[in-house]
């Protein structure tokens, strides 16, 4: 199939092979080495998208990663990816792409009528036009979202794999252009560990698109030699297709490698993309520079592109971006571009130089090609809507602010190449904390003082002379390696010399080209014009950060790479100050969009977060447990029998515990072994109650507070020996309690001789509960006297249970006779199965966390994190009995602070609804009156709410202002627009004497 705009020869494409692709359903062909952008141009397809706000037809502005217009939706189904830059999408056979932000089609777009209604879309239109009346905003928003915006995310799941990878190196070189290659070569010669990353598919940077020579040979020959050397070196890692997108503290950089984006599909188990997290000793930024557009009327028409992009298309891709070109520039760059275009067979109608005088050396070379050069002039307008048909060229006034000598002359062309000067790419340098300095000659920022271990070389440092860039790269690579402790033995590589270029002539900075009536775009992707920026200034915005947010200039996915300096220039001009006085906006990561897939990596699905499993997990699964996450653990929530709903299952489990026997996997409880002569004193300081008198063999419940007096954790601790304790914590707080203990023992009380060791994972815990618990124990254990006198409540014994060495704790969280049997975790499943088999005659019933919650609430036990939320003291819970008056402990002083000692603090109460079948939702507010309509002051909230088969009704607990003194009062529980009356009671509903657990 014909590719009408393909040159006869040249370029870095493989003409021997042809690749098929489609764009908006149109079938076309390209070659390996093409990007989607170059292949589209080769086929004469210049219209690639519609603009964000005005739906103006847009073509390609650039040939690289800075492209603001050519955003497409690539691939189909779950692999579809919106907002892909056509300039970075490598062509593969069968590629499918669609244009975005157009309806019903790219060529005929209804949204373009917004272009006719332009006055409705001034700067800040979001804030102005659509704000009133507020109730209408959702409707406006819907319309705006449909009309304006970028591509749509696919709905189907992404079938591909995404990888994360840490790495470390001595020298990270960012950018594989001439300066970066030289830096990598010199650094590698020292033996340092070097990573060289480049966004493109090929290393070479600007050399890929130019036609310079080094030592009399094509410059790419030099680059290929260096690459071969680096590839052969054992200490260098070459990463093409890798964009360094974030520069963080302490030389930590994030990079996105597009491992398989250039393939139709990744190979088996090959990740599509890989996110690298690199800690670099030294960084060399050779990130190059980007050409700036010129801001003139209708500078966004398809066919208007950067001169360097046109050069890249002809030289690298063998594509003529047009038949008949005009070039316009304020610096020398347009001249060699004109020669390259002419050499590729493009007719160059004229070169327009904004400067009063043309560059004489270049002028001579253009003369030879018969290219007319017009100095002191500018392009003031573009003809053609869907593509350039001609340009208007007029004479600039001496100050550049106006047009003189009439409207000028029209020149027919289908391609307009512009060069507004060069902007060093300093996003990463700025992210690293480095300061940027304004360079008047460059009319851009250049790197100032570095904060981290980073060097900037080449065009990124504002150097454009190839020989000098190579030298600077070599020097930086060598110095970076030296600073990381590596030195080269022997002489360095030879430094190549580039062919002599005509000496540069100073550019004529001009951020706004006068004349013409059309829109002058500053930000192509965000559709921000010079008029928008001027309006923002007139409306009073002074800070460039505010202007940016108000107009959205520079806020697109391209991070305003082609925008920022021009925007600053326009704002400065409007404010009548210099650009450095305006300053620049903050550069933030990522430099380039990173997919959600890459950010998530393999942390998706079941690997999202660790799911901790107890030794009995498989049994729970096999027996139909429904799980609930508790911290990172998965715990059985309830075990539904066939046909049972949750409530029925929980009721059955609760009844079993109260009437016969039930068993729970309590392995997840945090367990801390505490040893040392001062262990009791240590516990005395961290718990609210006293520990010194606790006898060996006994257990005690303890409450831990933060220094602010709020309940932090609770649990039972057993005295194993004189200086030896076994502490239990809540499941979710195991790690934080150990950290808390270590904190105090290491930093505040190093004189206390005590060691804390986590033994959570060593023990599996089977908790049996119910009136038949002792009978079952007697069958499983014959070396412990189980009589209530010999083994009373709140003691522990060492024994053998089911043939396993066990620590048996007679503690109870259900209010029933209970034993918590601890055995080494590897034996946990064994014990569990033995207990279930032996308990069968008692109808032993496994119970989950929900039944456990009901059982403990019936007897008024709190759950830290449910009855408490970090604002609750033991006094608020009515637990004064556990707060020692004799000794100090962490948080004690806070309990008498004026605020914590108030009588009207929310205090724990029981709540019995008037309707015994009504179960109020946890979290519902407690209000005094029966009218729930806001505004109504809350007096507290429901913390726990259950249905109890033992009570034959629902019950709840809650925190109620001054609740301790309000037993018997009726309050209202507000939820779902109603207010349910409930009587305030003591927070204990069953077995108030606690005799069952002690039995």
């Amino acid at each position: 199939m014909a590719q009408p705009f393909r040159t006869a020869e040249g370029g870095r494409i493989d003409r021997s092979r042809s690749l098929a692709f489609t764009f908006d359903g149109r079938e076309m062909r390209g070659h390996p080495g093409d990007t989607l952008a170059s292949a589209l141009l080769a086929n004469g397809n210049r219209l690639v998208g519609r603009s964000f706000k005005y739906h103006r037809p847009r073509g390609l502005l650039a040939a690289g990663g800075e492209e603001p217009n050519g955003l497409v939706r690539l691939r189909r189904g779950g692999r579809a990816e919106p907002n892909v830059r056509a300039t970075l999408a490598e062509l593969y056979d069968g590629l499918t792409a669609e244009s975005q932000n157009r309806w019903p089609s790219l060529n005929f777009d209804l949204g373009a009528v917004t272009g006719l209604a332009t006055p409705l879309f001034p700067a800040g239109f979001y804030y102005k036009t659509f704000m009133w009346p507020p109730a209408w905003w959702p409707a406006y928003e819907g319309v705006i979202r449909r009309m304006a915006g970028l591509g749509r995310a696919p709905a189907a799941a992404d079938p591909d794999r995404y990888d994360h990878r840490h790495d470390h190196c001595d020298v990270l070189v960012v950018g594989g252009g001439p300066a970066g290659l030289a830096a990598a070569q010199w650094a590698a010669r020292t033996g340092a560990r070097v990573i060289l990353a480049d966004e493109g598919s090929e290393f070479g940077g600007s050399l890929l698109s130019g036609n310079e020579s080094l030592d009399g040979k094509p410059a790419m020959a030099w680059a290929e030699r260096i690459l071969a050397e680096l590839a052969a070196a054992g200490n260098v890692h070459l990463l093409p297709r890798t964009t360094v997108s974030g520069y963080y503290d302490h030389n930590y950089l994030g990079m996105l490698e597009r491992v398989a984006d250039h393939l139709a599909e990744p190979a088996d188990n090959q990740p599509r993309q890989r996110l690298w997290k690199v800690r670099a000793g030294q960084v060399v930024l050779a990130t190059g520079a980007l050409e700036r557009p010129l801001v003139f009327a209708d500078n966004d028409r398809p066919g208007v592109m950067l001169a360097s992009a046109a050069q890249s298309y002809v030289n690298r891709y063998g594509v003529r971006p047009g038949d008949r070109a005009v070039l316009v520039g304020n610096n020398d760059s347009a001249y060699p571009a004109a020669l390259d275009l002419a050499a590729a067979g493009v007719r160059v109608a004229a070169l327009v130089d904004l400067r009063p005088e043309a560059h004489l050396d270049w002028l001579a070379r253009l003369d030879e090609q018969g290219i007319e050069v017009m100095a002191g002039r500018a392009v003031t307008g573009v003809e053609g809507r869907d593509g350039v048909r001609g340009v208007r060229i007029a004479k600039l006034s001496d100050d550049g602010k106006g047009i003189v000598g009439g409207v000028g002359r029209e020149v027919e062309c289908d391609l307009l190449c512009m060069s507004g000067g060069w902007t060093p790419s300093l996003h990463l340098f700025s992210q690293s904390g480095g300061k940027l300095l304004w360079d008047e000659g460059l009319a851009s920022f250049r790197p100032g003082e570095a904060v981290q271990a980073v060097r900037v070389v080449g065009a990124a440092a504002g150097r454009f002379d190839l020989t000098a860039c190579l030298a600077a790269g070599a020097e930086a690579g060598n110095a970076a390696a030296n600073d990381s402790g590596h030195r080269r033995r022997g002489r360095g590589p030879r430094r190549p010399t580039a062919e002599e270029m005509p000496p540069p002539l100073a550019a004529r900075p001009m951020f706004l080209i006068p004349g013409g009536r059309g829109k002058r775009f500053v930000d192509f992707q965000e559709d921000v014009t010079a008029a928008d920026l001027q309006l923002a200034v007139r409306e009073g915005y002074r800070s460039v950060e505010h202007v940016k947010r108000y107009t959205t200039a520079g806020m697109g996915t391209d991070q305003g790479r082609t925008t920022n300096v021009n925007a600053l220039g326009v704002v400065a001009q409007e404010l009548d100050v210099s650009v450095p006085e305006v300053g620049h906006t903050t550069f933030r990561p990522p430099f380039s969009p990173v997919t959600f897939g890459a950010l998530a990596g393999r942390q998706v699905g079941e690997l999202l977060d660790p799911l901790r499993r107890t030794p009995m997990h498989g049994w729970h699964q096999a027996n139909g447990a429904v799980f609930e996450p508790v911290g990172q653990w998965l715990r059985p929530y309830y075990y539904p029998a066939p046909g049972e709903d949750m409530q029925a299952a929980v009721n059955r489990e609760v009844k079993a515990a109260r009437h016969s026997l039930a068993v729970m996997d309590a392995t997840t409880l945090g367990k801390i072994d505490i040893q040392g002569p001062d262990a009791a004193e240590f516990l005395n300081r961290v718990y609210t109650n006293g520990w010194k008198a606790l006898k060996v063999g006994s257990c005690r419940y303890g409450l831990m507070l933060g220094e602010e007096g709020m309940v932090m954790d609770d649990g039972v601790t057993a005295r194993l020996g004189e200086g030896h304790f076994h502490m239990t914590t809540t499941t979710g707080n195991a790690a934080s309690v150990l950290a808390w203990l270590e904190n105090w023992s290491q930093t505040e009380w190093p004189e206390l001789r005590v060691y804390c060791n986590s033994c959570t994972e060593h023990w599996a815990v089977v908790s049996i509960s119910g009136p038949n618990a002792r009978k079952l124990m007697a069958e499983l254990c014959d070396d412990v006297d189980l009589s209530p006198e010999a083994f009373p409540f709140m003691t522990w014994r060492q024994g053998t249970v089911a043939g396993l060495p066990a620590r048996i704790f007679r503690v109870s969280f259900t209010g029933e006779l209970s034993y918590e049997i601890n055995v080494p975790a590897g034996c946990g499943l064994n014990l569990w199965q033995t207990v279930l088999a032996a308990g069968e005659k008692y109808g032993i019933t496994p119970f989950g966390t929900e039944a456990m919650h009901v059982l403990r609430a019936e007897v008024g036990f709190i759950i830290v994190g449910q009855e408490t939320d970090g604002t609750v003291t033991p006094l608020d819970l009515g637990m004064d009995w556990i707060v020692s008056r004799k000794k100090d402990f962490l948080g004690k002083r806070s309990l008498s602070r004026s605020d914590t000692a108030r009588d009207d603090r929310p205090q724990l109460v029981g709540l019995l609804t008037e309707d015994p079948n009504l179960r109020v939702p946890e979290g519902a507010q407690l209000i005094p009156g029966s009218d729930p309509r806001p505004p109504v002051a809350s007096q507290g909230h429901v913390t726990s709410s259950y249905e109890s088969p033992n009570l034959g009704r629902t019950f709840a607990m809650g925190l109620l202002q001054g609740g301790g003194e309000r037993h018997g009062e009726v309050v209202h529980v507000a939820f779902d627009g109603r207010a349910a009356p409930a009587t305030v009671t003591a927070p204990r509903f069953f077995d108030p004497e606690g005799s069952r657990a002690r039995g």
Binding site: D249, H250, E707, A739
Partner: protein, 91 residues
Amino acid sequence: MLLIDCPWCGPRDEVEFSCGGEAHIVRPPEPANLSDAEWGDYVFMRQNRKGVHYERWCHGHGCGRWFNVARDTVSHQVLAVYAMGEAPPEV
């Protein structure tokens, strides 16, 4: 992501550590003798300094030891690492 030089394990990524906030806050020996304001100052008030900040870190994923760090809160540079109980170094 900071790189923190654990006094025992050497430089490790920030994710291996937890920050314990401002260093050199001593727990008053006789809390009962303090006024509400004095106790509140100990519990709640912190300097939140711009510039050199002395803070405590714990290498929880490594050796589990607590230590002190002097860090510039503007540049995030770690200026010194020193033991618990040591006086803050001049930086």
